[in-house]
């Protein structure tokens, strides 16, 4: 019974931590090369 309670507690804590990380965490952003160029009159010919 004691082992079961500990297992349940561990699973609950693990789920809570995973949920927090999942919702609040950031996976970071990969690098990129290049830039955005605004279109103007000549691009619309």
């Amino acid at each position: 019974m004691r082992v079961l309670r500990r297992a349940l507690l561990a699973m609950s804590v693990g789920t809570l931590v995973a949920a927090i990380l999942r919702l609040r965490g950031s996976g970071g952003v990969p690098p990129r090369q290049g830039r955005w160029r605004q279109l103007s009159g000549p691009d619309f010919r």
Partner: protein, 336 residues
């Protein structure tokens, strides 16, 4: 009565939310409209707004039969746009709809025969996405010899009604055009990191019930894939199944659209990326206003169509540029 109003250009704007008010302001300033009829569920709330409109006769009406006018702008929340457009066509009016609901868009496209017979325009999805997204896809696609894939991504919303519609769309089935057939996919799936124009940058985007693919498929019938996704946070995905937990913002901007087109140009397989960043409500207001003004001038084709079905989107993009709404192309490589 007909004789009295023969030379009076009248426009009805149904819906006085964030987008509806922007349309009204631009139309009042255009000099093309003599009389504006503003439809609202709560007319008593519009006294202050109406007082700001100078040089145009304004009438505020409550929900009921649509008035007989030259152009009817449907800027109310999504749902029922098809029925209202049918009624407006019966009154001899051009119709401009800003709805981004798949059901509304399909219903409006189904009015093509009625609109063509009546020699009136039904302009579908005259907003940010669809609308600006369709114009950009059409413009970028015209530079290819053969378009193989079109991928639309958007972030941001207009007013509260737009945010509620997006909340509903996140859990509904998305439609993707794949190898000549429509495929239904669950909303909230298909995570993809998309680089929007700076400063918004990279955002995760997911499938949702968005109408862009449906509206673009006519002009890219040979494309293997046409998809549309929307940016969302993990919290958006988790709470999409629940009622909105907090009141929507008064304006869900700034937002962005990004269109990636893959195809063949001069025998070489090429990918072009084009996008725009602005307040979705401002762009929707400008596009709906331009559509209304050009309908008044009889400069648009009859029938039911979207901006992605235009032969030449350049006049629209030029007019938007004049109004301060610009597009951008991505030059470089993004690794995601």
């Amino acid at each position: 009565m007909d004789r009295i109003f023969a030379d009076v250009t009248t426009v009805a704007v149904i819906g006085a939310g964030v987008v509806g008010r922007r349309v009204v302001r631009q139309l009042a300033a255009s000099g093309l409209v003599d009389r504006l009829i503003l439809g609202s569920r709560r007319p008593e709330r519009l006294h202050g707004f109406v007082r700001q409109l100078i040089g145009v006769d304004v009438e505020v009406i409550a929900p009921g039969p649509l008035p007989s006018v030259d152009v009817t702008v449907l800027a109310q929340p999504a749902g029922g746009h098809g029925e209202l457009a049918d009624e407006a066509l019966g009154n001899g009016s051009h119709v401009v709809s800003v709805s981004d609901s798949l059901k509304d868009v399909q219903a409006l496209l189904d009015l093509d025969a009625v609109a063509t017979k009546a020699a009136r325009s039904v302009i579908v999805g005259a907003a940010f996405s669809p609308g600006m997204s369709c114009l950009l896809a059409r413009h970028a696609g015209s530079r290819f010899d053969r378009v193989e894939e079109v991928h639309v991504a958007r972030m941001g919303t207009g007013g509260p009604a737009c945010q509620r519609q997006l909340h509903r769309a996140r859990t509904k089935e998305a439609i993707d055009w794949r190898d000549g057939n429509w495929r239904k996919r669950p909303g909230g799936t298909g995570r993809e990191l998309v680089w929007f124009p700076d400063p918004l940058g990279a955002r995760d985007c997911y499938r949702a019930a968005l109408p862009d693919a449906l509206l673009l498929s006519t002009n890219f019938p040979d494309a293997d894939r046409i998809t549309a996704k929307v940016a969302g946070t993990r919290r958006d995905r988790l709470t999409a199944w629940l009622p909105m937990l907090r009141s929507p913002h008064s304006d869900g901007g700034p937002g962005a659209v990004r269109i990636e087109i893959r195809g063949v140009r001069n025998g070489v397989r090429t990918t072009d990326v084009i996008g725009a960043i602005d307040y979705p409500s401002a762009v929707a207001g400008a596009i709906a206003s331009i559509a209304t003004e050009w309908s008044i001038l009889d400069a648009l084709p009859s029938g039911s169509w979207s901006l992605g079905m235009l032969d030449d989107p350049v006049p629209w993009l030029r007019e938007l540029e004049k109004r301060g709404i610009t597009a951008a192309v991505y030059e470089g490589i993004s690794r995601s």
